[in-house]
Amino acid sequence: MSKLTLVLMSAALTACATLPPAGQSSSTTAPAPAPHSAASASRDPFVSTYKTTPSPATLIRGATVLTGTGIRIDGGDVLIVNGHIEAVGKELRAPEGANVIDAAGRWVTPGIIDIHSHLGVYPSPGLKGLSDGNELTNPVTSNVWAEHSIWPQDPGFEMALEGGVTTLEILPGSGNLIGGRSVVVKNVHATTYQAMKFPGAQQGLKMACGENPKRVYGSKGQAPSTLMGNVAGYRQAFADAQDYKRQWEKYDRDLAEYQKKNAKEGAGSDSGDKKAPPSPPKRDLKLKTLADVLKGDIRVQMHCYRGDQMATMLDVADEFGFKIVAFHHAVEAYKVADLLASKGVCAAMWADWWGFKVEAYDGIQENIAIVDAPAGSCAMLHSDSEDGIQRLNQEAAKAMSRGARAGLDIPPERAIRWLTVNPAKALGLDDRIGALEAGKNADVVIWNRNPFSVYALADEVFIDGTVAFDRAHPPRKPPSDFLLGQPNAEELP
């Protein structure tokens, strides 16, 4: 249980990994976009180097297709061209030279998206030297980024891939009130995390309700040690961020004015008493993250078990004018399902975890089905586990059948949304992933049977149209450097 406990302390969202504007070079001589302007400071210094691999067109034919958007097509085809979904339907024609896969009797879904993972930051093996998920030195560490803790050789990535996971959000742990920035990665093997980083995906901010922060700091005799201490901590942090944001806004205004004035006077040019440009406020990496949240550039993903605490946090968010995108580990979301739906807040849940601490004591297996019920709901399944991430389809199957037994009939084409389009929305990436629709990234899983089964296995997994895993042709050597050359790690006869 010790590893689990650590993992349970988690939560952060991916920050907006904005790429530098195309064509802008650093040698520009244009008048001083001051190096410290708010705009330049929000540019991501850790640029994604992820590249798609060119691959032949692929036609998957005759499958039961769950599009991810609530549609099921029996005997359906999915056509992939240039890494994107070209068409989904029946009797599609294969382009010249296309790889045609007969998927009769098999099922096809979008690639699975796990919105809550600690792969890489709490990797396998669980060694001290690789345990980098919780910066437990201050209750507010909005300055840290989970991506800087990722060990790309974590063998957990390839096991998750075998389970159909194509995109995952990796978050810091939940030991802090505000744990740091999360990152969205494509589940591709790479030597650097930048080569996994989902291009253009926003970052998240991991925040945490409840027992973990108050236990971690309370046990050190520091604040917070109570739930009220938690709330005071979030509010002070955002109050400081508001002030910081105002300072930068003032600076930006002063700078703009100065530049305008300078340009005007520059024409006349001989006035000797030119005023010095305004000096920028000191960059504060903690407050910068929070200010970006207030601006809507970073998506808040909040670890929160109890329904009443979710309601408290929605009020805190309203007070400061930011949005909580999703509550994670939302064991009691079923108690506030209507509130979440009316506020447009997602809930990321397990199928059947409960009881490991008091805030998890009221967990029920119908949670996801109940949260899914209201109009406007956004129920998601997450793993928070290097084991669970390998079988999210099975977890969804449990939740689906528990719903059915309770009279909430949920067909597969609806349940698959918990693993695909809903997390895509919560990541702000639903224009690119989470559905089998023309124009979307070709992240696709072919299952050997109905994926809502304990016996289901992913036969083939595509990421951006490239075969990332093929059960019939498994890699001869493990992709992870760590596993390479380990005794007996390789396939036996």
Partner: protein, 444 residues
């Protein structure tokens, strides 16, 4: 996020459905007193027309009746035998072809000795006297079953999932000798913990490997040095007194296991498993391997020594350096080599994951029947209960589960569970919470 179609199913409908499942059972589900449950005719039941997985030499009977009298299975017969009469007073349950299995083994757990894991006041699973290693006393006389609370909220949660019994295994405290445990049935009977332990199941638990080398001075090699010392003390050839590892009660307790007693070794690494086999042979111990992530590497040796393995079939990551060679087909490979296997998820509140383990083992090469046996008959056999439990056979305790589908499938659930012939009420604290909030959800 799409709107769900209007759900017009009323709460009453659900109740009616549940009623259909166990209409016959409700009347006699109320009584939770052991005496009345075992002796009187209210525990007589005829389950008619089930697909019966006997997990015995008879295999699977596609259409059979199971008769229960006084808590025991008294007959298992193919259906359709003309003119068979329903015994007077027996409740009849029409299975309508649904699967009937023996009650499922919850694994090695803390069910009933741990309510909320993070709240130490609710956890009795292990002992830790906080003594430094050099002052350590081993306490093999520690018997965790004395803490068993049959009224734990976990018990109803587990049994409505088809789990009818567990082996209480003491957790790691501050010594590699965790103490003694044993099997209990989830009958919910109020009685002293030690009496709840099923006859013949008591076992000693020893923890080895990287997790516990801190209890042996930092090296796993020292585990055997200390074990040899303790055995020496037990056999009266070693130290007695202040510097000894054991108290008098400890010597007596350990001594009971040194002539063919069952000792469960929690161990993962292949070489460590071989060390356990050698140690056990030397000391006349009957070992059970718990964990055994790398067991497939020494499957032949395990089979030859007739040593069973209780494993987590989902263990496939190199979680630590003892488990570098974890594989999803560990169960299949062990079974093929002739090793007796049982499944345990290592979970407490999620002990019901054990069926999922079995299903995944099937997906990775284990024959379906062998997977069912690994959560029913095999664990009963391993823990000395084979004659009494784990099969649907005349004379066995009537621990039975009627399923709504494939018993190893995650989408299946138990429609009705019987323990010692008594139909248990299919409710738990979780179903209460569900029903309180479900009513509202149905309005949408």
């Amino acid at each position: 996020m799409n709107a769900m179609k209007a759900q017009k199913i009323s709460f009453l409908t659900v109740v009616a459905l549940a009623g259909a499942i166990s209409a016959t059972s409700v009347a006699w589900a109320q009584n939770s007193d052991r005496n009345s449950a075992t002796a009187d005719a209210s525990s007589d039941v005829l389950i008619r027309g089930a697909k019966v997985y006997t997990v015995s030499g008879r295999g699977t009977l596609d259409n059979a009746d199971v008769l229960v009298h006084s808590g025991k299975i008294t007959a298992v017969v193919e259906s359709g035998a003309a003119g068979r009469q329903v015994p007077t007073g027996a409740k009849v349950v029409e299975a309508k072809g649904r699967p009937l299995t023996p009650g499922v083994f919850a694994g090695l757990t803390h069910i009933g000795i741990e309510e909320i894991s993070a709240e130490s006041s609710t956890v009795d699973a292990s002992i830790d006297f906080k003594s430094p290693t050099w002052d350590q006393k081993w306490r093999p006389e520690f018997d965790v079953t004395l803490a068993y609370n049959a009224r734990s909220t976990l018990v109803p949660v587990m049994r409505i999932e088809g789990l009818t019994w567990t082996v209480l295994a003491p957790g790691a405290g501050d010594s590699i000798i965790a103490g003694q445990g044993g099997a209990v049935a989830f009958d919910g009977m109020l009685e002293p913990g030690f009496r709840a332990v099923l006859d013949g199941s008591r076992s000693l638990f020893v923890k080895l490997g990287s997790e516990t080398e801190k209890f042996t001075g930092g090296s796993r090699a020292a585990a055997y040095m200390l074990l040899d010392q303790a055995i020496g003390e037990t056999r009266a050839s070693g130290l007695v007194g202040q510097d000894a590892l054991l108290h008098a009660a400890g010597r007596t307790a350990l001594g009971r296991y040194l002539s063919g007693g069952r000792v469960v070794f929690e161990v993962e690494r292949a070489t460590d498993i071989l060390d356990v086999l050698a140690f056990s042979e030397r000391n006349h111990i009957k070992p059970v391997i718990s964990g055994g992530s790398e067991g497939w590497l020494v499957a032949k040796e395990l089979a030859r020594a007739k040593v069973p393995v209780v494993l987590n079939a989902l263990q496939d990551l190199p979680s630590d350096f003892d488990r570098l060679s974890s594989r999803l087909d560990n169960a299949a490979r062990l079974q093929r080599a002739g090793v007796l296997i049982a499944f345990s998820s290592g979970e407490n509140h999620k002990a019901y994951a054990v069926r999922q383990l079995a299903g995944n083992a099937v997906a990775h090469g284990l024959p379906w029947d062998a997977a069912l046996a690994a959560i029913t008959a095999n664990p009963a056999e391993i823990f000395g209960l084979g004659a009494a439990r784990g099969r649907i056979e005349k004379g066995q305790a009537a621990d039975l589960v009627l399923w709504d589908g494939d018993p190893l499938e995650v989408t299946s659930a138990a429609d009705q569970v019987w323990i010692d012939g008594r139909a248990i009420e299919m409710r738990s604290r979780q179903t209460e919470l569900r029903d309180r909030y479900l009513r509202h959800a149905k309005v949408h």
